[in-house]
């Protein structure tokens, strides 16, 4: 073997060593980068996905009526502005039974509106409609409105909220998957 080929093969080896070192460094850098990117998935580390918060005094929700309530999301970042204010519908059936519906249509999340005369929730987007108990009346939604779990403490109505309800979510499926009439509070 001539000196030249020997030295090229040595250099070729050094190139491989260099690439190998870069591979190790690359992995060492990739792990934190990927973890950073996936951080929204680490639910346990982000408390407040589902926490109890007050919608205010019961007196605001007269019996037999459905009223709009708003709350501030439990997790708020400085840049969130108004987006952290969330609305929901509170239905006081008979002062003992309550239902709290998400504002988001169970079809694709548009804000449903309550029409007291016709006793219907209607969605402005694709024409979804729901009965007063939140069950599906017509249109593209596959199911009734999402419902928040709620409790009454010291004359205040509390709901468990903190995450945007979407049709595919396990939480959402748990909440109000069946006709809400069928279950007495606490709806679990």
């Amino acid at each position: 073997m001539s000196t030249e080929t020997r030295s090229t093969s040595r250099r070729a080896l050094l190139v491989k060593v260099g690439l190998f070192l870069n591979g190790i460094v690359g992995v060492a850098l990739a792990v934190p980068i990927v973890r950073y990117l996936l951080s929204p998935l680490a639910r346990e580390k982000n408390p407040g996905y589902q926490s109890w918060l007050s919608l205010g005094q019961l007196a605001q929700f007269p019996a037999g009526q459905t009223r709009l309530a708003t709350y501030r999301n439990p997790i708020v970042n400085p840049g969130d502005g108004q987006t952290a204010n969330i609305a929901c519908w509170v239905r006081n059936v008979d002062d003992r039974t309550f239902q709290v519906f998400a504002i988001n249509c169970a079809h694709l999340g548009c804000p449903v509106r309550w029409f007291p005369q016709s006793n219907l929730f209607m969605c402005p987007c694709h024409g979804g409609a729901y009965y007063q108990d939140g069950s599906r009346a017509s249109g593209p939604p596959e199911r009734g409105l999402f419902q928040y779990q709620h409790k009454i403490e010291a004359g205040n109505l509390f709901i468990q909220a903190g995450e945007l309800p979407t049709p595919g979510q396990p939480v959402a499926i748990k909440l109000g998957g069946k006709s809400p009439c069928a279950c007495e509070p606490p709806c679990a």
């Binding site: 998935l41 108004q82 694709l108 548009c110 209607m122 402005p124 987007c125 979407t166």
Partner: protein, 410 residues
């Protein structure tokens, strides 16, 4: 004059770009391709450059924060000199870009330009279409108004329906549990860094292949593409009946580019910027969100799909469409190029155009949506009441008082 030549020579000695640029300019293209039908690719590139320039200009004022984005758009519209014009240029530029990319694609499809050896050019082109639509969607989000907010909700709801990974995908998309500041930040990063980077890379590859493989010749009925002979035939064609790209072909590109830019500017001046509509406050529910023009067909489709078929169609449909588009050059890589001998190709285009056109048209007046602000006690026309029984009139009263007008307008 001598001075300029000297300066040019000084630079060229160092950059060595003169010769390759000269080659590109002088390379022979089939005489038939120096046609007005071949100007859409370069027009798309021109609009893309306009989008980069106006995008950077907007970034000078825009604040990508959920709490302030809407206000910064108002400032652009009202307080910054000609801010409204730059916004309008960018908005109209995006509409033109999607339109031109689609026209370009239809032309390439009907002229059989995706066949051997330009399969990869087509595939990169399909990716460019997807990336362009990605720009259109993320751009619509950056106009952080009510439509953008609820549009994100719709996007999240669609993503959540993906089996198994849906809920995780939603959280990755939103960056947190709800639509908020982080959501806007990640869409800003996508719209301003990630997607444009990909777009520039793909455009580079796309252009490179157009130059290396030569532009598609005008398809002649009966001139069949065969893998074994095509390259040779194309070479002969450009030798025998070729013209230099500059100036024989490029002048049409240049003229059309100017026409497109002028049209965008005229639209911007005449129609003004898009929105922003109401503030992105989720507690303001008096809103009827609707997407921008190029997604209206989807909006209509979502209203008409039967509930049980919706999720599969929504998730599988786009995947099939993309696979078909990407696979097209592989199952139709040879054969007839001319649309005159490809009736099915023409039919497919017509069908798609009519279908998308009809859905878009429906999307502009949403016959499926309740009229949310219908005046519920609007009187029933007296013509319906004349000669009715008391019971029937009572029914009319119910109709009038129960907000039935919302869904059953006259």
């Amino acid at each position: 004059m001598r001075l300029i030549e000297k300066i040019v020579a000084w630079f060229d000695l160092r950059l060595q770009l003169g010769a390759p640029i000269g080659d590109i300019a002088k390379h022979q293209v089939p005489r038939s391709s120096a046609s007005w039908f071949y100007v859409f690719g370069s027009a798309a590139l021109t609009v893309f450059i306009l989008q980069i320039v106006t995008g950077i200009l907007l970034a000078l004022i825009y604040v990508p924060s959920a709490g302030e984005a809407w206000d910064s758009l108002q400032i652009l519209n009202h307080n910054v000199a000609l801010g409204w014009f730059i916004r309008a240029l960018h908005g109209w530029g995006s509409n033109f870009m999607v339109a031109i990319v689609l026209i370009h694609m239809v032309q390439v499809f009907l002229f059989g330009a995706y066949k051997f050896p330009r399969e990869l050019t087509w595939i990169v082109g399909v990716l460019l279409l997807l990336v362009t639509l990605g720009m259109a969607f993320t751009g619509q989000i950056l106009r952080f108004d009510q439509d953008a907010y609820w549009g994100l909700g719709i996007g999240a709801s669609i993503v959540s329906r993906v089996p198994l990974i849906g809920p995780w995908a939603v959280r990755l998309m939103l960056g947190g549990p709800i639509i908020a500041g982080v959501t806007l930040s990640r869409f800003f990063a996508l719209h301003v860094f990630v997607i444009p980077g990909v777009l520039i890379a793909f455009v580079g590859v796309h252009l490179l292949m157009v130059l290396k493989l030569g532009v598609n010749e005008w398809p002649m009925p009966g001139r069949i593409v065969r893998r074994a002979t095509y390259l040779q035939e194309y070479r002969e064609l450009t030798h025998k009946d070729g013209v230099p790209f500059v100036p024989d072909a490029i002048w049409k590109d240049i003229v059309f580019a100017a026409f497109v830019l002028l049209s965008i500017a005229l639209c911007a001046v005449y129609f003004g910027p898009f929105g922003p509509s109401g503030q992105p406050d989720p507690t303001i529910i008096q809103t009827a969100p609707s997407p921008d023009y190029f997604f209206l067909w989807l909006y209509a489709l979502l209203s008409y799909l039967p509930p049980s078929a919706e999720t599969p169609i929504l998730l599988i449909g786009p995947a099939i469409a993309i696979v078909v588009l990407l696979g097209l050059p592989f199952f139709a890589g040879e054969g007839e190029k001319s649309w005159k001998r490809r009736p099915i190709a023409v039919l497919v285009i017509l069908l798609l155009a009519v279908g998308l056109g009809a859905l878009t048209h429906l999307g502009t007046y949403t016959p499926w949506s309740p009229v949310m602000n219908a005046w519920s006690s609007l009187p029933i026309p007296s013509a319906y009441l004349r000669g009715r029984t008391a019971l029937e009139r009572r029914g009319a009263l119910v109709f009038q008082a129960k907000q039935c007008h919302n869904c059953h307008p006259r």
